[in-house]
Symmetry: C3
Subunit: 319 residues, 3 copies
Amino acid sequence: MISKNPQLGKNRELQHLLTTEGLPTSILLQILDTAQTFVGVTEREVKKVPLLRGKSIFNLFFEHSTRTRTTFEIAAKRLSADVFNLNIAVSAQSKGETLLDTVDNLVAMDADMFIVRHSQSGAAHLIAKHVRPGIHVINAGDGRHAHPTQALLDVFTIRHYKKEFHNLRIAIIGDILHSRVARSQIHALTTLGVPEVRVIAPKTLLPSKVERLGVRVFHDMKSGLKDVDVLMMLRLQKERMQGAYLPSSEEYFKYYGLTPEKLSMAKQDAIVMHPGPMNRGVEIDSAVADGSRAVILPQVTFGIAVRMAVMSILAGQPV
Amino acid sequence: MISKNPQLGKNRELQHLLTTEGLPTSILLQILDTAQTFVGVTEREVKKVPLLRGKSIFNLFFEHSTRTRTTFEIAAKRLSADVFNLNIAVSAQSKGETLLDTVDNLVAMDADMFIVRHSQSGAAHLIAKHVRPGIHVINAGDGRHAHPTQALLDVFTIRHYKKEFHNLRIAIIGDILHSRVARSQIHALTTLGVPEVRVIAPKTLLPSKVERLGVRVFHDMKSGLKDVDVLMMLRLQKERMQGAYLPSSEEYFKYYGLTPEKLSMAKQDAIVMHPGPMNRGVEIDSAVADGSRAVILPQVTFGIAVRMAVMSILAGQPV
Amino acid sequence: MISKNPQLGKNRELQHLLTTEGLPTSILLQILDTAQTFVGVTEREVKKVPLLRGKSIFNLFFEHSTRTRTTFEIAAKRLSADVFNLNIAVSAQSKGETLLDTVDNLVAMDADMFIVRHSQSGAAHLIAKHVRPGIHVINAGDGRHAHPTQALLDVFTIRHYKKEFHNLRIAIIGDILHSRVARSQIHALTTLGVPEVRVIAPKTLLPSKVERLGVRVFHDMKSGLKDVDVLMMLRLQKERMQGAYLPSSEEYFKYYGLTPEKLSMAKQDAIVMHPGPMNRGVEIDSAVADGSRAVILPQVTFGIAVRMAVMSILAGQPV
């Protein structure tokens, strides 16, 4: 479905950020290390650096998401870029213009970077392959395919709390089947050398042959959480809570919702992550979400630094 | 309904602006005097001051209002802040996230200030009590409860034209029952020492026991407007114009609509105010709205300076 | 319908840009020459000049158009202005406020410039006549009347590729009847001395007595395109594609859609223009749209420079 990945340039430098699949360890570490330098910026009195001054960054959101759009807008403004928000669902697309015509027009207006969210897998790839050198694309979520900045902020958070990747046992819990977040996480974690990545989910919410991604599969929390260092919860989409995939959200919570009891099966110093927005009482209990092991809000904070890092690395590439 | 007001800090300095109720005279005067210094800024060639450079201000509008949002956005940009507009009605809330989870996420993105409009009384209070020190909340209208910046720009306008508060007779006219603006005005005016605040309205549009707020009640314009220095008109919401509250908008205009004839019952130098947007021909006649006694557009101008004042006072508080 | 044009001041300097009709050649050339100086800005590392720093520019869009709004927003931000986007369709207008009350309020907030798009012809004129000196209005499209910045970027593009106007044969092709773009183009081209402007359209898509605008009328492409230097395609609105005006979009494409075959009837070095968004396969074939004679994307690029030029000329006028 998705053709050859254009995200790496001739010298294997990052030209677009489309997926964590196939991203070299060196680039993953470059992003994490650059993000580390930006963590301090947001604590300054004046939370801005002039790295992207005069650059035009377009939030091209074909799928609605105030939260994700806002994180990119904040990151871009802290880098002093000019940001333009285009909610394309209600615009030119409805006038019959094609996706690439829309992009061509924005490129003609001297766009420097596109942040793309689209309900179809491969949309950001398509744009990245189409634009001329010097213009960069960041995938902010495409269909069920990838959401690489979410995965990068997750691994940043894990490194922050656990220091190393090579000695960790990490479990991803929930709707793996429909989750672009889970796919991006798995690729990033395995590349960074995490020796054991587990997925815990009912069979109806697992892709077939998921083991091929290099994960261990569990269907119950008790065995799946044993000796785990990091728990990465997934959001359960409302539309999955009834019908074909699950009997009900109450049933799901009973078996897979993270309660203090289930959490106690993991290591004592395990951390709990969630990409947000949370469904309290569905995939996570409030006692855990607000508890001492949750690092869900630090994830958000680090997310700004990670997005600043990706933008500044891309903008700094020679054409 | 609304618990202890967190808007004052330990030393009774302003930490949030939630309501004019209980706001000390000294703080009201601090805001008015600071606003006075900003009136000049908007007349400069470059209408900006760098006081809030690098600060992130979030317009959190759970209730739609382009006009009010724009005034805060203008004020924030003239203070050189970065402004983020979040129309929450259509966003994470619809994904089932709670109000405080949304706020926690934005705080984690290093928000410095929230401008909150919500259809439920107490929403801004709830947020103010929740956030950590150093983050400030401005109530931009909550249910029927309060709209303090509107009341502050009103008293700024009155002081501009009448110089003193202690010798004034002021009438608030219209739908007192449903008006957060009226409640905030009454608290501000009585605190500032206005000796006589009147309300003029049909019985169906008055709260029970409104006298307890320290106002004199009138049901007809002729007696209510006699010897009045300031007329503060209220907007009549469309949904009140028929049914239980009023027979029709024509009937309302006949008895309570401000015409030149009714205005002539007030003092010769009385001023006419309106918070906008006006329903011409319902609560106010165009001959008055566009006449020499109206100070409705100066209210708007002063509103920017007042909002700049509140923001800069809040941002300047030691944590 | 539209009363005396307020766009020229006492000394015939540009005070508002409302229409290309009656705009003196000297002002047309002033805009084109100023735009030329801005073409370079967008190629700089930092694509910004401080000409409008501290100015408040309001995009007042009563009719939805992300593309046009974005071009003005980009132009304004590259001039360092503060830009405020107001989608009025969903705002105060729905609360019953009149157009001029909305404008008065924004003027009271110290607006410096309005970019106005409205479905009614004459809306921008009405605002321009209403505001006080020193406040400027740019018409971004009003009903079927005018879209002057589109026409200006078109003549800029023509001058860029053809150097002179006095030796050109130019054809405007498509739905002339409903097109504010076509009307503005015709006025600009005839003022600049183009000796022959043709319109090519079926009778149902031509205004009656269109010849009075100084154009030659053709109903078929073969004769209309003969020896033409410039082809200006118009967008065919979806609602015209069926019913009273046209039998179907396929039928329209057969007779008026620009294919390589039809293009070969024009001069060998003819250029093809389109205001966008394109309906590929309706008014234009992809082989032409993406071909070597198309200058459709350069039009977009020049459009930013032209809008920067208009804004900076207006803002620079003495009050």
